[in-house]
Symmetry: C5
Subunit: 324 residues, 5 copies
């Protein structure tokens, strides 16, 4: 479904919303700048795009298909076709969901296509409706602004993952609960998935910044270089997160084995103190006819004393060994 | 054994099945498009292929040999020789089996060779018999369609592996059985094997898409680029599976050590509660002549009370320590 | 805020501090060497830099922005824009903080920009005020001197991390405390972060040393090669630290399981010695009417003897097994 | 020691064995094909090779030296010098021993040198003596045949390692013995060593197949490409073996900790059942003057009943927890 | 301090020791071959080198500085400046110490500089004093001989590390002592450090062998290729050592957990045998008025029998389970 089509005439003040019928005429003039946005692209839209813009069927098919496509850039000389991935992070379920944005960038048009409403497209649209600025600098800069907004929206996700990570870390250091391990694992997987999505995008933006495509003007390349720097920064942060999550996992595993140590120490201390005393009590519970101590007047109290002595010295030994 | 040979005349409506004798003549004309398929290739077939198509003996030998060959592409200028691997995943035995498809792609012919019946070849054959479409766009597109079908058939396997993985994960979180570990290991190995088969294929398809081979027309390259994107997606999914299986393994190992913790806690609590009480009972079981408490009227009940007190306070201590 | 601006006239003895107004005139002459330093750059400073030096808005924006940017080098033909990272290591909190230095290097000027006071800039400034030497060899050598000072300041941090590492190592070997694990983890993360900052810088300095930028004179390249060697050395040391911290972690984990072993041995020895003796005492505590031993004159003492014998032989067995 | 020298005249039916004296003359004609094989090369042989073939002293020195040299290829324009490694796997000691084969390949001669008798050389010799086929297609094809035989001889070793691996795996799953761990470790090391030998060879054969050396004819390259495919296949198999051995090791380690779990469960169950019962017996063994239960007629039997009840309910609890 | 300076005249029989004053004259002639060696280079030596040979100040500064520099090669067209690292392994302290050798190689001179006496320099010097051979083949071959000697001296270190590794391995398999873990860790670190030093050297020698530097004659390159092969071999051996040390560490960790298993089994067996017997003794130690068995004539002996029976059957069960 084609959501909107804006056209900025070469001498225009503000971009005007245009009908589908006008698009072909405007394109034929080869002047001004046209931005067409389609959401949840149907095969009718696809047909229209193919007819009006003369796009390659395979590229249009990628827009229609609901499958996830890896980030990529295809050069068709007259235009380039870019697939970029944004991030939707659902913090409660810890799932990193990628949202796909397809862009066709020609000399005097940009066509965007996505399956769901996207914040980046909406924000650029809002700025256009205010004063038309993002459309004044040409198609390559308009595409840059949209991709920049897309990449900027990734940073909050990384911050949230970072918060979650430090939150789990403190949980692990205090008292790990039953679900802690699976949260750590889920977090690690989210971070790895994020990493896998980001790396190819960096390479794609790099090829644009390097000037591999004639559609992107020379003056515009340095701005794409800026997006590249953002993506490098995101990658560095993601790797930091990976280290953090690895260290949280190692801390968790090690704290499990530390607590086992604690438990075993308590068991050993209890056994080491009570078993000898029980033996002593057992000995004076024997029924031998001739056990001289049994007839002692204070025998019973002596035994109590001996028991206390043994217990205290064992406690002292364990204290010294730092088991208590 | 040559299974079928179809020929689409330049002005033909539908491809016609042809005899082996006709093949040489048709090839000599250099027009139309010929598709020859051999299954379980014998040395006689090999001889025929060498004679009729003038293929290199080594390439033909690869078709005859029942060994597994790594995916590869060889350029003989007049034709290219491709070996691609599909996947047969036997879910009950968790074994990923690769099926090998060899293709010779010339200007006006495609020769396919495989050891076992292949779904991808059968599906293209069916579409040809309906309306001949896959053969109308030239040899390079016919080869593309067959390889595309081969690659598409890999996705269900990945879905099945994914299902299996999440299924084992929930098993691990609930109650790991004896065979769980070896299923995890088997799964990991399947995923690694899958990964090893897919990576070289991606590179091979990339060289085709890049236009390294004169046999593949320029307009067709973008379609191979599409297969490349599929293989990239498959690789990303496989890496996700690898992360998942790693995390399942870590969860398993950690749950083993958690359960050990549980067991040790129970042991420690039991010992810490009963050893002191047994000592108390032992003390009043001693046979000293002079134990004043033994003569108390309610001594026995006092001991019961003391025992209950000790037991309850210990239980309280362990509850506080979250051991119970 | 522009902190200072020094100008060395072509025939000058010592660099002179100059006003902002003079800068444009001096630049117009294209002679001498100008060094402008801004700290905590505001948007006014940015405007000034853009006007006076004709810098690209994106590069100036990087100076104003308080975000961290990855190390990079951008070539604008007339000048290059470099972002380098220094290190501030807070030993008490184990946090490696990167400090960012941005440099514009033109034919006859160097502009430095940073958010906080930097030791490297201050030290070069001090040397200039003494005899002007660092400014006598041209803009490329002045930039080299500043970057060299920045890189030299990293070595003490590595030494401190090394000290910390060996200090934790000896703590682990003697008696690991509760916080030991988290110090190791924090240290590992610091080292990884340091590594991540250093690697891209090495590559950037390499491109300068290779002579990719016309602004850097041919004679100066070998000096940048020297900085490159420093960064290679830093990377080697960082990898050594990584190995060290890995081995400290492995030692820690292994010492935890060794101490568990110790605890279990004590428990086993105690149980193995006292349980049999307690059984013996229990047997002669039975109330059977007919237990001949009970009537023996020295029965009680024989039991003591047997108990001592059993205990000693068990101790001997455990000594031989090296459990004691 | 020069083992044999065969010469196939340009018009010859069968290769003839020739004397050392004839070699120089034959070489001078520049026609036909000469194959000289030396085993356990002495410095006299080296002198002869240097004189007759004009080989570089360093290459000849590599043949004489008994040290192991890494696989390599050196281009001397007139001839190439190749060192390839075969495998001798001693299954009983699990040691992978590399056997070194040095080849000089010129336009009309092949010189092979090895320290021990080699199956690959012997098998080609046998085929030559039958009908001279391997020598009919030129020096490059003769060298190919020898190297192909060398590489083919590696496959059985991989099969044996695979058998050993699955054999250890089943041992681990059933009952791991004392030596199991060290067999796994030895196996892993063998596989890694094999991998290290194979990787560089693949690269070397690739350079030959790519046509980097003028000595290797264009028609022959595709045959070297075939050896390359073999080596790729071997590398894939070796990586599969590595995964397998890793998973066997993980299974072993995990089964050790599983058995520990079993042991601990038995201990806990025993303690949890018998400690309470012993306390009960201890209580009624106390000597208080006033214990009413002791006078009950069926007190003793009631205690038996209570004990049985306690024991059964504990067993039921443990059954439910799946500890038994 | 300049240790010696030898000069071989173009028509000379033996190299002559020359004064510093003569060096400049000899260099001016541009004939013959001069070798100057400095040890513990002072700034005066540096001044002399700069004056006499016209070396770059940075290269000379590297010779004076006592810091460790990474291996590198700098091309100054007239001469190349190489830093190579040798190895001094102190077996008792397990520390791999690198020794640095700096070489200036010009058309008719070699200047070596090192901080400590080096065996490689001494051995070449000795050979020169005998018959002057290493100086007869030009500056590039002299430099080759020195570097070759340096690399040859690394092999014994690897052998020693190998011995140490297998020695620790057998210690681990027999009875690991307290210090075993830290020896393994130290060894691993030594091997990693060795690896880090060797890898860049290999690359440096490769660039020489490839003919990147005009100072190195074409005929000499194959000899540097020989050093390269040595370094490849050293790297292969080092990786083998790494695998070995990894496997020793894994064996150690696993043997710790195996011994824990042993300890736990003993504990469980002891508890499982003695707790039931103690209960039995406790039961017949109860003071119920009516316990029929107590009045049986052979009751006591029957209890002994029952106890023996229980003990034996438990031992049999544990034997079957292979716990004993």
């Amino acid at each position: 479904m084609i959501k909107f089509a804006f056209y900025l005439a070469p001498d225009g003040k503000l971009p005007q919303q245009v009908d589908l019928d006008q698009i072909c005429n405007l394109l034929a003039t080869g002047k001004g700048l046209l931005w067409v946005d389609t959401e949840d692209t149907t095969s009718e839209d696809a047909q229209f795009l193919t007819d009006a813009f003369n796009f390659h069927p395979l590229a249009v098919a990628d827009c229609v298909s609901k499958n996830i496509h890896p980030p990529k850039i295809d050069n068709f000389d007259d235009y380039i076709f870019i697939i970029m991935h944004g991030i939707n992070y659902h913090i409660e379920s810890d799932v990193v969901e990628t949202t796909e944005l397809a862009l066709f960038v020609g000399k005097n048009y940009v066509v965007t296509s996505h399956d769901f409403p996207m914040r980046s497209v909406a924000s650029i649209l809002a700025r256009i409706q205010v004063d038309g600025r993002p459309m004044r600098r040409g198609a390559d800069m308009l595409a840059h602004d949209i991709m920049d907004a897309l990449v900027d929206n990734i940073m909050p996700t990384i911050d949230e993952l970072d918060d979650k990570c430090t939150c789990i870390e403190s949980e692990v250091l205090e008292y790990p609960k039953k679900g802690t391990l699976s949260s750590i694992m889920q977090l690690k997987r989210s971070i790895l998935a994020l990493n896998r999505v980001m790396s190819p995008q960096r390479e794609i933006v790099n090829t644009i910044a390097r000037g591999d495509y004639p559609v992107i003007g020379k003056k515009c390349q340095i701005y794409y270089r800026n997006i590249y720097d953002h993506l490098v920064r995101i990658e560095t942060l993601t790797q930091g997160l990976r280290d953090l999550s690895d260290s949280v996992l190692a801390t968790y595993l090690s704290s499990v084995s530390n607590r086992m140590n604690e438990v075993m120490k308590v068991l050993s201390v209890v056994a080491a103190i009570f078993l000898p005393l029980t033996l002593l009590a057992g000995i004076y519970g024997m029924n031998f006819a001739n056990i001289p101590e049994l007839q002692w007047r204070y025998g019973y109290f002596v035994v109590w004393g001996v028991m206390a002595l043994v217990a205290f010295s064992l406690v002292a030994v364990f204290k010294k060994r730092k088991w208590l």
